[in-house]
């Protein structure tokens, strides 16, 4: 993140977008120069580093770049730099206090000419047994610009520019009122994101979208008063969003007393840093042991941790596991030891997830395990150890269910319909549909039958009267 005055952004037609680095050659050149200055300054005083940084800033400006761009890069590099106080024979603070003491004792608060000054310095220096230049070194050592560059954590120019772009985004968001994120991400990523939402004292509402989740994020007071209070916190969420497979953010930004909309999506991934998030730790030892034991069981079911997020009411629910066999997915949640408040929330979430295959394992020793019975799911009660065999037994119920669905699809087509369809050489789809409807066949089913019997449908138009159905020609 950058100081707000280093934010470079363009506003147009109600929209605002930071002036991102495109990672072009000129920008890479300046980034390289800037990194070089820092690398070569190890062991030098801060003020000499600052002077060289200014030179690069001026160079960048002469080459037609915004001076805030170069200054922004420098800002990020200063954060990768370690400074230390110069070593002095005398303790800086002690020598300062001693000098001030002498000045006040002898001259009532200040020295007014060179003689007085020299008198004080040599008196204090001799008291410490050093020469005056050593004393003055100590006197100055408290000041930041006299500090030495101890170390610098290097970075490649391209990476620096990507970090700069991320920082611009975050800095713009300092003044945001809220943030909407459309994401398609793994359960692990979502868990990290939502953990941070909570940790930062923010709130969210979730909605299901066709291929992911839409999160609307702001703070408790946002519904009462739109303010930038949560802006800095919203900015901190960005790294957890841009790691998603697919993402798009949208925010309302207050700048110069006007509201703008800011939109960014994974189309910009090329110029943004890429974060890899590690799998979060198991919530409990119980889960860990269960995972190990079940995977060695040879059940034919695949077991995955933290599946994609589910939407329960207005919030996100991420089950502990998902079992997978062919196209069937069964979610699995282990309810171990937790607080009453936690269980209440979990119950609320679970009860709004009716239409899912879900097995829940509940520790019998839990006070409210009776409450869990009311849930519309397959419930396993266990004591201390959770048996993988028992879970497998329950899973088998779903295996049967799977086969049933497949049988249904294999439903037989009446003879006369097959005869009719086979008589077609080439016909308009609209006519075929009309003919088949006489046999009580729906449009959807009709198309399935056509495809099954080896007909080609040329989907070039959405108008059935323009679509032609013809027999597939076997290629040799």
């Amino acid at each position: 993140m950058l100081p707000y005055q280093l934010l470079v952004a363009r506003a147009r037609g109600g929209f605002i977008l930071p002036s991102y680095s495109k990672l072009d050659d000129l920008e890479l050149y300046i980034a390289d120069k800037m990194i070089e200055v820092f690398e070569n300054s190890i062991g030098c005083k801060r003020k000499s580093l600052e002077a060289k940084v200014k030179d690069v800033e001026n160079l960048a400006f002469r080459l037609g770049l915004d001076y805030r761009f170069a200054r922004g890069l420098a800002h990020l590099l200063y954060k990768r730099t370690l400074f230390e106080k110069p070593e002095t024979k005398l303790d800086p603070l002690r020598s300062r206090l001693e000098i001030f003491k002498e000045v006040n004792k002898k001259f009532g608060g200040f020295v007014i000419n060179d003689e007085e000054r020299a008198y004080v310095l040599s008196k204090v220096a001799s008291k410490f047994g050093v020469d005056t230049s050593e004393l003055l070194n100590a006197f100055m050592a408290v000041h930041e610009e006299e500090h030495l560059v101890k170390d610098f954590y290097g970075i490649k120019a391209e990476e620096l520019l990507k970090n700069y772009n991320l920082s611009l985004t975050q800095t713009l968001l300092f003044k945001s009122l809220n943030l909407t994120a459309n994401v398609k991400m793994s359960g692990t990523e979502m868990k990290k994101l939502l953990f941070n939402v909570k940790k930062l004292g923010l709130m969210y509402m979730a909605e299901k979208t066709f291929d992911g989740v839409k999160l609307y994020i702001d703070g408790p007071a946002s519904i009462l008063k739109q303010s930038e209070r949560y802006g800095t916190r919203l900015a901190k969420l960005i790294p957890y969003i841009i790691c998603a497979e697919k993402w798009k953010i949208s925010a309302r930004i207050l700048r110069n007393n006007r509201l703008y909309r800011f939109v960014l999506s994974d189309k910009f991934s090329r110029i943004l840093p890429r974060y890899k998030l590690e799998l979060v730790d198991y919530d409990s030892e119980l889960e860990k042991i269960f995972y190990r034991r079940f995977t060695t069981l040879g059940s034919g079911w695949k077991l995955y941790r933290e599946p994609e997020p589910l939407i329960a009411g207005r919030s996100v629910f991420i089950p502990d596991f998902v079992f997978e066999k062919d196209n069937v997915r069964v979610y699995f949640e282990i309810v171990g030891f937790w607080t009453h408040e936690y269980l209440k929330r979990k119950m609320e979430k679970l009860s709004s997830l009716r239409d899912l295959n879900m097995i829940i394992a509940v520790n019998q020793e839990l006070a409210c395990s009776t409450l869990m019975k009311d849930l519309p799911f397959n419930i396993i009660f266990f004591k201390r150890k959770l048996s993988p065999v028992e879970v497998y037994r329950r899973l088998k119920e779903y295996e049967k269910f799977v086969i049933k669905i497949e049988e249904k699809e294999e439903e037989e087509v009446p003879e006369k319909i097959i005869d009719y369809v086979k008589s077609i050489e080439e016909k308009k789809l609209s006519d075929v549909l009309k003919d088949l409807s006489k046999y009580g066949i729906s449009e959807e089913k009709a198309i399935k039958i056509l495809e099954k019997l080896g007909f080609e449908i040329d989907w070039q138009s959405l108008d059935p009267s323009k679509i032609i159905v013809r027999k597939k020609i076997e290629k040799i």
Binding site: V103, G109, I112, R117, K225
Partner: protein, 453 residues
């Protein structure tokens, strides 16, 4: 009459009405996220009053107060006007702003207010320096644990002192732990960020202290709902002579050297030429900000701006000023002196040349405390500072202030002046203002003085 139980709870700077069946006051809004009504925390007392009025059966779980007990160590002796200020504040429902000049003892009014209520209180101050001072004063009067919140510390006690910055950042956390809020230098509070300290806090009682509540952006009007109305007001003139040291203002004009003068006008011309070539007129800070934005990519704009900055630097920091400073210092040797300058570079120069301790925002906490302590004890007579000591800092018996350069802010000037207004027997305080003649700075000085004359 209402049998269903309503619960009023605190949630991160807001209050939430759970299980409400009737329509709450209009400042509550329905929050779909928690399926309850929600309001900003400062509406707490109003809400309780409302619920009681309707005989509602409700559980109040908002406050999570610091426990403790205040024991008075020392009698609080109030001057007449301090007594009046306290009485007015109590009469106004223990909500309001007291306006007294610096040096008139605002802190003591607050001490009396804390003692009057004897409830957990939070004092919000602008600087760490003021935090030190409040801690000292509160420790002098009360035997109770005092917490520091800010500057790397996060201790919450029965009496807690926080900086505006940390109180803003942690408003949600602080919002239900106190009954009384005291805002020192309350004119800071109405800014868009800081006001949330008051809005996100449930404390029913509030006291604001300042010498000058007015703000150029008129946001001080919001103090009415954030803290309360102005319940008492006295100007420096009303108290001067009797309670406050009388003071003189001496304006010293210095001339630029021929060389500086030439350079100065060259730079000013360059700046003006640019403005007129683009038809730009600078009428407000806004216009100037636009120029700054323009300078991001426009080379000429940047050069014009740099010329303006350099001209300003020459005017504010003319070499002759250092000479004049020398002369003034010579006249006041052994007296209590504070030198103000806006520029950190000049602070450094004066400190190094005259061997005077400097206090800037970069000075370490340890050194700042040691220096200020020694200054108070009289072991150090002179201090040079940039912005840090600008406000309300208690520097007893300093009688000479030297403003070496400064901005056009009226408040800044009054407050600096306030530094030397500490009552001292048989002594007139002096404020020197060193201004460069014939430059833009004279205009700045005129604007600055409007505040006192």
């Amino acid at each position: 009459m209402n049998t269903s139980v309503i619960e009023l709870v605190y949630d991160r700077g807001t209050i939430v009405l759970k299980g409400s069946v009737f329509a709450p006051p209009s400042f509550f809004k329905w929050d779909e996220r928690v399926k309850s009504y929600r309001a900003l925390a400062f509406r707490y007392w109003e809400t309780v009053t409302f619920l009681k009025k309707w005989n509602a059966n409700f559980r109040d779980n908002v406050l999570d107060l610091q426990t403790g007990k205040i024991k008075l160590l020392k009698t609080i002796k109030l001057r007449n006007y301090q007594k009046e200020a306290l009485e007015n504040w109590v009469k106004a429902g223990k909500k309001g702003v007291v306006v007294l000049p610096t040096g008139a003892g605002k802190t003591l009014v607050a001490v009396a207010a804390i003692n009057f209520l004897s409830m957990p209180s939070l004092v919000v101050v602008p600087t760490l320096e003021l935090m030190d001072q409040w801690e000292k004063v509160l420790g002098k009067y009360f035997s109770v644990r005092i917490g520091r919140f800010g500057g790397g510390r996060k201790d919450i006690e029965f009496l807690t002192i926080a900086t505006y910055d940390s109180a803003y950042l942690n408003a949600e956390f602080l919002g239900n732990k106190f009954m009384l809020l005291i805002f020192d230098e309350v004119h800071h509070l109405p800014s868009p960020g800081y006001r949330q300290i008051a809005e996100l806090n449930a404390a029913p009682y509030r006291l604001g202290l300042t010498a000058t509540p007015e703000r150029e952006d008129n946001l001080h009007l919001d103090l009415r709902y954030l803290v309360g109305p102005v319940v008492y007001r006295r100007s420096p003139r009303e108290l001067a002579g009797r309670y406050l040291a009388d003071f003189d203002i001496v304006k010293v004009r210095v001339k630029l050297s021929d060389e500086e003068r030439e350079k100065y006008f060259e730079l000013v011309d360059k700046y003006k030429r640019y403005l007129s070539s683009r038809g730009i007129k600078i009428r407000s800070i806004r216009d100037f900000e636009k120029l700054i934005i323009r300078s991001g990519l426009d080379k000429e704009a940047r050069e014009a701006l740099l010329a303006w900055l350099e001209a300003r630097r020459i005017a504010f920091n003319a070499a002759a000023k250092i000479e004049v400073l020398k002369g003034i210092l010579a006249k006041h040797r052994g007296e209590r002196i504070i030198i103000f300058t806006e520029n950190n570079e000049i602070v450094r120069k004066i400190s190094l040349n005259f061997l005077i301790p400097e206090i800037t925002y970069k000075t370490s906490d340890e050194e700042r405390r040691l220096i200020m302590e020694k200054f108070r004890k009289g072991e150090i007579n002179a201090v040079v500072t940039s912005k840090v000591l600008e406000e309300g800092v208690d520097v007893p018996e300093a009688n000479v202030a030297i403003v070496l350069s400064g901005t056009g802010s009226r408040r800044e000037f009054i407050q600096r002046l306030g530094r030397i207004l500490r009552p001292k027997k048989g002594k007139r305080a002096v404020l020197y203002e060193i201004v460069t003649a014939g430059t833009a700075e004279t205009r700045v000085s005129r604007k600055r003085r409007k505040g006192v004359s």
